[in-house]
Each structure stands twice: as C-alpha cells, then as structure tokens.
C-alpha cells in the first residue's frame, strides 16, 4: 500500500523530509531540485533505462567517496545522504547526455519541439554544450503515422517512453521498439495510422521531437509565441483540462493541462485534435435574418427581444416563447436563455432518451449509497463492471483510467513481493498477464476487450435483464430478472470480493434500463458491504457532453425536448429560441420540421451553420469555447471554469451576451449561482483575485512573446492598443505577473531551466499531487440523506426486427469536433454494425449499402448506411453510427428492419479501427 510516512534524508548537506517508499528522483523533483532525467515519467514510474539521473550516495557522515547510483531506481531510506552537486556525479551526467546526443541532429531551429524540449533543457542543465563526436551519425527512415502524428526518428534518444506509454499504459499494439543498440527504432511494423485513441500523447511523452503534432506543424508557432489560458475540453462529459494556444487569431493547438483528480498528464485524440472548427471559414460571423441577409448587432438584438416578447417589457416574463438549451454550451449561456424565456419555458437540448437517462443519473448522484468517482479514483478500482457503454468512444479518458485499474492486481502482487510500485519494469515482469477483473456487458466489441476478464455480449434488452439478474446474484433483495448464468455468478463473486468495486454506465446509449440496472448492482453491492458502515460504492454514470449535467441541473424534469417540440407543433407556444444546438441530431426529423414550421418565429444561436440555423428566422453568431469564458459541469457534477484564450474578430458574442442583460460574465455566473439551488457552489470556481499580487492580472502571453509590435503592421504601422479583458483575471498581454508557483490560473507551465511540459513538477505540491493553490473545480451535487431502493426489472418487450442502438466513434460522434479537418481525416461514413448471421439473413455484404427502416411500419423513416459486419456484434442487434451524414436516428425507433441498398457515396469504412471486422462472409 502507498506509504504516507515521512523520513529525513540529506541532499548536498541539507536535510529534507520526504516520502518513505518513494524513489530519490521523484523526491528530489518534489522538493523542487533540478535533477535531469529522461525515461522516468511521473505517471509511469522508473525503469532505469537512460542513466541520466545519477547521484552520489554516501553510507554515512564519514563516507566521502560515495557510490554512483541512479536516483530513479533508488528507494528512499531514512537518513540517506546523497549529493546532486558532487563533481563526479555531474561529470557522469554530462557523459551520459553526451552519449545520448551522439546521433541527435542539430535541427532544433526547424524542430517543432524546439523551445519546449525536455532534451534541450536537460542538455543545458547537464552542461553538455560542446559536441566532440565528429563521426557519422546513425540515421533512420521515418514512417507515415497517419494525419495526426509526425515521425522524425533521427531525433530519438531511446528513452523508451513512447512505447511505455503507448503499449503499456494505453494498450496500443501497433507501435514497438525494434532492432537494438544504435539502430533501435520506434515505429509501426509498417507505415500507417497509429491506431490508439491516445496517440497524441506521444507528442507530450516524447522528451524530444520524434513524435510531433502534425496538425499544429502545418501551421506552427513556438510555444512562447502562443497566447494561452486554462481551459476545459468540450469534447465529451469528462471535462479534461487543456491549454489551447492561439496565434494571429487562430486556435493553433491543444495540449494537456495537468489536473490531479481528472486527466492527470493525458488527454484523448478527440480533445487534442478536435478543435479545428474554431478556425473554420464557415463560422457564423454576423447576425442573419431568415433570408440570409446580414444584420447589425443592435438590430439583431432588438429582433431577439421582440421575438422573446419583451420589447420594452421586462425580460424574463416572455410567455409564449420556448427556449431550448444546449449540452455543449456553458452554464451562463443556458442560464441567460432560461432567464429570458422563464424557467417554465426552458427545455433540455438533448434527446428524450438521454433526458430520461439524465434524470436517473442525477437521482443516483444524490444517493448517499453511491459515489461518482473522479478519474484518479477510477484508477483505484480493483474490480470493474462496464454496462453497455463503449467508454473508449464516449468518454475516452475514462477508458484510459479503466485500463489502469486492471493493473491494481499487479500492484497488489508487487506489495506482497516487497517491490516498490514505482519499479515499473519489475512490477510488470512479476505480474505478467495477471489483472484485476474488468467485466464488460455490451452488444458488441469494445476497445477495452483486450484487458477484459469477462465479456457478455447480447442485445440491449437482454443485457439489461442480465444486469438486473446480476444485481440479484449479488444481493437477493434486488429483484431477479431470471436467466442465471455462470458468467454472471463469476462477475458477482468478483465484485463482492473487491475492496473497491466500480460500476460504469452512461447516457450515451439512451437506455434507461441499463442505468437502472447499474444502480441496482451498485445498491446490491453497497447492501452486502453493509449499508451505513461501508464507504459508498463507486458508481460512475457518464454524461454525454461537456455540459449535459449543467443543462440538466437547470431544466425542469418535465421540460424535455420532445415536450418543447409538441408545444410548438400544437401552437401552445409561439416562438422558439434554440441555443447552440442542431435539433436534427436530437429528435425525429419530422417532429423538428413540424415544430419549426409551426413556430411563428425561430431564433438559433450557434457558431457554425447547421440544419437548425438554416431554418431559423434569426441567426445569432456565438463564440467558440476558446473565445469566451464559461463554466461547465462534468459527469461527476464538478463545475470548472474555462477561461477565454483569445478574442473573436467577428460579430460573434458569448450567447449570454445576446440573450442576457448581464454587464459582465461574473454577474451572469453569480446570478446563476444565486437563483438555482443546485448551482449554489458555482461561485467557488471564480479565482480568488485577492491572491493576485497588487491586483495585477495574469498575462496570457509569455515574457518571450514576439512580434507584438509587428503583428498588425500590414494594416497599420502604429501598434494598436492591447485589448482589455474586463471579464477575467487574465490579460491579453505579456505584462502582468505570471503564476510562477501559484497555479490557480496556470495555462502554460514554465520555470527557469524547464521550458518543456515537464516543468509541471515545479507547480505541484508534490509529484502527482494537486497544483499549488490550484483549484480543480467545485463539486456541485449534494447527497440526500435518504437512500434510494431497487428498480424493478424491465418487462420483456420482444418485437419484430432488430434492436437498434447507437454506435459511437471517438472521431465523428461529437458534433463540433467532427467539423474539424484533422478529425474528418479519421472519420468513417455512416455504418451499421451487424452480426455475421444477421448479414447473411438479410443478404448484406461487407462495406456495401444497407437500408434501415422502422420495423413493422412500411411508411416510416428509412435511412441508408454502410454495412459493417462485425463478428462480435450481438445477433438480433444493430448499432448505427450516424457520422456526419444527417441521419434521422431518432426517427427510427427501437427496432429496425434491414434490406440491401445502393452503397452511399462519400467516406467508407477505411478509418475504422476495430478488432472484429469480418473479412468476408466466409467468416460467418
């Protein structure tokens, strides 16, 4: 177990208190000392490969000779005496880096890593500033690794961090260390796209420029020339912390921003590469009327107020106008619309199925029997059950955490064998294939199957019954659904035997029965562990989008999207204002058409044109996530503040400015906090401005930010006045006091001698600890005092046709990221995953067209997609991925029929990364 005890050690004559059970390198870095390293990573432990962190260790006070030892491989011992500054140790480290650098090219000026390169930093720190090697360097051929990552093998110093992250940490299989000695090569077995959904982290894990961000590279800027601010990823409901960087009005790149309880050091490829839409030429730039004519902002604002029925009247009393909120807009935007139309007229902006799931999720979140775990807590689970959620495609960062949870068995074995947990290679060698249980109930293959201990594949309705039965197996008070199997008994035993079991489900499939069954299973576990005595059981219920939870918390339960569309169609409401939402993704197309046609006037606020803005009588352009300050609430109910990174140069405004009457962002946020009880703690996300020295703002630009006076010289030789930011504690400027150690408002980390992202250690309380004074958001949800009970199992609803469920893809399922060029290169066409037997039965051929139509309704909705025969798909179920093909998913209903159809044009299945694609029908 992790040892929290402190011991004293002496480093260069100074005595420090450090963590017992740790290693010397980690403790030196925690103390803020400068000791060079390469292969060690805070989250991947020590392997002792690079020999760069050598220090002198002395037996006792009398010992003046000492021995050389690798700090990362040396456990902390009470009373240990070491020296970093010892001349021999320094010479040794200089020698090591000289050897590592022998074949390293002199290409820093044209290398994307330059200026934020750990190798540059360590080379300088070790004092190797003159090259003596004058022989031929070893060179390598680079590989094409897909549209996201560049490969430049000559820069490699063979620290092995890439394969340790990609293979061992993230479970990738298509990158390996090849050959040996001077010829060691890190690449794929042949050229091709890196398959892992976390490949982008190689850019940050590699200490030099072997793996770089190809998208950023095409439009490159040095780190110090990027304007950055702390932000939150809007790609899914997890809310990973990111640091976007801007130059010349364009969002150039996204890198990870450390959060000790959430994303740690890693984000997924949707988050890293999915923000290109911000720079899209199609962005809505001016207000438009229904005919597409441009309006000026004042006229547009006036029109909005007239439509809201409040011209000259009081805003907020607008009866007759429906507001539809957005799970991809922040709390302030949703709150402003709610205030404008009135709470009773404010409706949810996601599908009715998701709405029902969100009711259950918030219900469970308030239940004292359960705890909704952070990512760090998910990693501590020693038995996991995933119910129907394809986590790698719906909440990728959580999937990465689940992959770590199966290593708890290895850590337990290591504890038993007296091997420190940070001895990475030794722990892996000891554990071999031993893993903690991870059980997956799904309707098809998932990208966690390779580490799953048990998999149950069935149709959605059968899965739900299985899951209800599993709860009954755990505790007989939970109602039985029948159908006991050995697999369920085994899973029940594993969950009961665990010290920290975890149940994962989510709203992405829109299946309320699965969420109810997850609640029953967690409730049964809690009961068996002793209600009231044991800690709450970890129940992770995932929300689909960045602010699904925030939107839900301010929407009345009965105010579903369907209800809004019905009111409009029945003319119970005259007008509609749609906030950042394409309703055609959320509801049956016929219902949306009818509602919009019946509405007297419709207003759409959005950042890119879509089918909803096309039908609106008034379109108002809004800012993208990086152009505004806003708060989001993630799956845990954690509210986080995302700062504005850069300004929009069009007439786009934050939505709350269009719909609200707030003077400042702060006022919108505070009013939201004051008027909705669930948001009472939202004000805690605002930074403590009293911590800013002299009230001086924090600069978004680095001290080395270049070219400011010349940036606009093509327009006017006079340098324009720097833009002011009255909305936040940050300035659009180099002037101010950077957060040197105070990480409250930390975007891009930098410390003297540490230009790379490794400088994060200078801002942590200790390695892997919280940021100094930093704040990781505010948990909004309170627990009730009374526990909930068990849900009854669903009634068996057999019917004709095949059960339809959505298939999510990391690249393509999220609306905005799928409009980014980089992501589009990785997207597939719309496809239907179907079992081989069902393909034969319906005469379908791999990769060819298929028509889905509502079962038993010849005149109903029908859509076409590509047939994707997958050997692991449950017979009787089909999973439809809509991609960006405008498919009427919600119009199809729960059961569909399949018939062969002409193959749709456009994208194929080429970018699909799955393990179970049937090669031909012979696989059946």
């Amino acid at each position: 177990m992790t040892d929290n005890a402190k011991v004293q050690i002496t480093i260069d004559g100074v005595t420090y208190e450090v963590n017992a059970g740790s290693n010397l390198l980690q403790e030196c870095l925690s103390l803020g000392l400068d000791l060079p390293y390469f292969c060690w990573h805070p989250c991947m432990g020590s392997v002792g490969a690079c020999r760069q962190c050598a220090v002198k260790q002395y037996r006792n006070e009398e010992d003046s000779a000492g021995i050389m030892t690798m700090a990362c491989m040396t456990p902390v011992q009470p009373g240990a005496r070491i020296s970093i500054e010892d001349p021999q140790a320094k010479a040794f480290r200089a020698g090591v880096i000289e050897s590592l650098m022998i074949s390293h090219p002199h290409d820093c000026p044209v290398c994307e890593e330059g200026g934020e390169c750990h190798l540059q930093d360590m080379t300088l720190m070790s004092g190797h500033n003159y090259r003596r090697y004058d022989k031929k360097k070893v060179t390598h051929r680079n590989q094409y690794l897909g549209p996201l990552i560049n490969h430049e093998m000559n820069r490699c110093i063979t620290c092995y961090r890439c394969v340790r992250f990609y293979n061992e940490y993230a479970g990738g299989e298509d990158l390996s260390a090849q050959a040996s000695h001077h010829f060691t090569y890190f690449g794929r077995h042949r050229e091709g796209t890196l398959e892992s959904e976390f490949s982008g982290n190689l850019v940050e894990v590699c200490p030099t420029g072997v793996f770089t961000d190809k998208v950023f590279s095409e439009n490159y800027t040095r780190k110090w020339d990027l304007q950055t601010a702390p932000s939150v990823c809007a790609g899914c409901g997890v809310g990973c912390n990111i640091a976007p960087g801007e130059r010349y009005g364009e969002l150039r790149r996204v890198v990870n921003r450390y959060h000790d309880e959430l994303n740690g050091y890693f984000i997924c490829d949707r988050g890293r590469f999915g923000t290109g839409y911000v720079n899209d030429a199609e962005r809505l730039k001016t207000p438009l009327d229904g005919a597409g004519n441009e309006l000026d902002a004042a006229a547009a604002g006036q029109q909005l107020r007239e439509i809201a029925g409040s011209a000259g009247g009081t805003i907020g009393s607008a009866r007759g106008t429906i507001g539809i909120g957005s799970p991809r807009a922040g709390n302030e935007a949703n709150f402003a619309l709610r205030k404008l139309v009135g709470e009773e007229n404010f409706h949810a902006g996601y599908s009715d199925a998701e709405h029902a799931c969100m009711q259950l999720i918030t219900e469970a979140a308030g239940d004292p029997r359960f705890h909704n775990p952070s990512i760090r807590e998910i990693e501590q689970a020693d038995a996991v059950l995933v119910l129907g959620e394809d986590v790698t495609n719906t909440a990728p960062r959580i999937a990465l955490a689940l992959r770590q949870s199966v290593r708890n068995k290895a850590l337990e074995l290591a504890d038993g064998a007296n091997i420190p947990r940070w001895q990475d290679a030794a722990v892996r060698e000891l554990a071999q294939q031993e893993r903690s249980p991870l059980c997956i109930l799904s309707s098809g293959a998932t990208r966690l199957d390779d580490v799953a201990s048990d998999r149950v594949i069935d149709t959605p309705s059968a899965l739900a019954r299985n899951a209800f039965e599993l709860a009954h197996q755990i505790d007989s008070d939970a109602p039985s659904a029948g159908g006991h199997t050995d697999a369920l008994a085994r899973i029940a035993d594993q969950l009961l035997a665990a010290s920290r079991p975890l149940i994962v489900a989510g709203a992405s499939s829109g299946d309320v029965d699965l969420i109810r069954s997850a609640v029953n299973i967690a409730g049964a576990l809690r009961k068996r562990r002793g209600n009231g005595v044991s800690a709450p059981v970890d129940l992770c219920l995932l929300t689909a989008e960045v602010n699904s939870m925030g939107l839900h918390l301010m929407t009345r339960p009965e105010n579903s999207l369907g209800a809004a569309l019905r009111k409009l169609s029945a003319s119970e409401a005259a007008n509609v204002i749609v906030l950042e939402n394409d309703l055609y993704r959320r509801a049956p197309h016929a219902q949306v058409d009818a509602a919009l046609a019946a509405a007297k006037a419709s207003v759409a606020l959005d950042l890119l044109p879509n089918r909803t803005t096309a039908k609106a009588d008034l379109v108002l352009p809004v800012t993208a996530f990086s152009e505004q300050q806003t708060s989001y609430v993630n799956y845990e109910g954690r509210a986080q503040l995302a700062y504005q990174v850069h300004r929009s140069h069009s007439a786009a405004r934050p939505a709350w400015q269009w719909t609200g009457d707030f003077e400042h962002f702060r006022q919108a946020l505070l009013e939201c906090a004051d008027s909705i009880p669930a948001f009472a703690k939202l004000k805690d996300v605002l930074p403590d401005t009293s911590s800013l020295p002299g009230g001086i703002k924090v600069p978004r630009q680095s001290e080395r930010y270049s070219g400011r006076t010349a940036m606009k010289a093509n327009l006017n030789v006079h340098e324009p006045k720097q833009a002011q930011d009255p909305e936040s504690a940050l300035a659009f400027s180099m002037e101010g006091v950077p957060p040197r150690r105070d990480a409250t408002i930390l975007a891009s980390t930098w410390a003297p001698q540490w230009n790379s992202n490794q400088s994060i250690s200078k801002f942590q309380d200790e390695i892997n600890g919280p940021l100094r004074q930093g704040h990781g958001g505010t948990l909004l949800l309170e627990k009730r005092t009374e526990s909930g009970g068990f849900y009854p199992p669903p009634v068996n609803g057999d019917g004709a046709g095949l059960e339809l469920l959505p298939a999510h893809q990391i690249f393509g399922s999220e609306e905005l990221s799928s409009r980014s060029e980089a992501i589009r290169k990785r997207m597939t066409g719309a496809f239907v995953a179907v079992a081989p037997a069902d393909a034969v039965k319906h005469g379908l051929k791999q990769g060819q067209g298929v028509r889905l139509s509502v079962a038993g309704d010849a005149g109903g909705v029908s859509v076409t997609a590509l047939t994707c025969i997958r050997t692991q798909t449950s017979p009787g179920a089909v999973a439809l991925h809509v991609s960006d093909c405008g498919i009427d998913f919600h119009g199809l209903g729960a059961r569909v029929e399949l018939t062969p159809a002409e193959t749709p044009h456009g994208r194929g299945l080429g970018e699909l990364i799955v393990s179970d694609l049937a090669r031909e029908q012979g696989d059946v």
Binding site: D174, Y185, R188, G908, G910
Partner: protein, 175 residues
C-alpha cells in the same frame, strides 16, 4: 472493395493455410513448453526461418496471427535478434567472428580472403545466392581462433589457403 481498404487491426490478406502443417505442429509443441503465447513468438520465428530460410513480412504476419500477438511486438522480437533474418539470405549463412581473440589471430586477413572468394562484404549475399556473410561477436571457441560457422558447421583455425576448397564443398553440396 475500396471502402474496406483500411486499418483493420492485425488483419491481412494472407491465406489461412500460409503456415505449413509441419510448422504448425512444431509451434504447437513449443506452445506446450511456455506459460503464455507471448513467449512462443521467438521460437515460432525460428521454426519458420528453419523451413523458409528467412522471415518475410508475410511469415511475420502469419506467425503473429496464428499466435494472436500484435505484429508490431513480434517485429520488435524479430529485429532484436540478429540471427532472425528479416531479409532473404543465401543457402549458407556464414557467421564470421570478428571479436578480440579472432582479431588477434588474424581474422581480418582471413576475412579479406573470404570476401575475395565470394565477392561479398559483411551483410551481403553472393550473386549465386549460395552464401551470406554476417559478423558475430563470438562463437565460444577462442582457443581455436579464428573461427566461423557455415550453416550449422563450425570451422576452426581458419587459414586463407583452405577457403576456396571449403566453399566449393558447400557449393557442390546441392540437394
């Protein structure tokens, strides 16, 4: 089918009977000797190499698929060991020791003669496809240096004079 030309993990166009029955039998025997298939990878590569002389891309894929190992990982194994040949080699592979004892005993001069006889340098295969010359760091027979192996045979106390006859014996030993 262009829609399907894609990155499907570890899927190839290999015929399912790529590995011979004999190879499969030997691999299956090795499988019984190790606790997990990962460890069988190297042995399987040796088996395929024994049958086919070297490990082609197709062979590598076939072994990876057969054992259910990631092909990139198996490539790491195949390229780590210098006696797994990832390029075609001659009928007879000459492992020529050039480490200290052999060097003291004049292996460089003998090697020049080898190159002259065969028309190849280290890493090359003779035009007739008979010989490939590869350096090795030691063959464990230092007291009879210089030494080399030709195929499975160890040749000791090498002498420039004997090489011509030695190589022609291998050349004539056609099966």
């Amino acid at each position: 089918m262009s829609a399907m030309s894609g990155k499907v993990i570890a899927s190839t166009a290999l015929p399912s009977d790529y590995l011979s029955e004999e190879e499969i039998a030997e691999i299956e025997h090795e499988r019984t000797l190790y606790p997990d298939t990962r460890a069988v990878g190297l042995e399987a590569l040796k088996i395929v190499q024994k049958q086919r002389g070297w490990v082609s891309d197709e062979s590598l894929l076939a072994v990876a698929e057969y054992l259910g190992l990631p092909v990139a990982e198996l490539e790491g194994v195949a390229t780590f060991f210098n006696l797994i040949y990832r390029r075609p080699v001659g009928k007879n592979v000459i492992l020529y020791c050039n480490s200290v004892s052999c060097w003291i005993m004049g292996c460089d001069q003998v090697r020049e003669k080898v190159s002259e006889e065969l028309g190849i340098e280290f890493g090359e295969t003779s035009e007739d496809g008979e010989f490939t010359l590869i350096p090795v760091p030691c063959l464990g027979d230092c007291d009879r240096a210089p030494v080399m192996m030709v195929g499975p045979d160890l040749h000791r106390n090498l002498d420039r004079q004997d090489l011509g006859e030695l190589f022609s014996r291998y050349r004539n030993n056609q099966d």
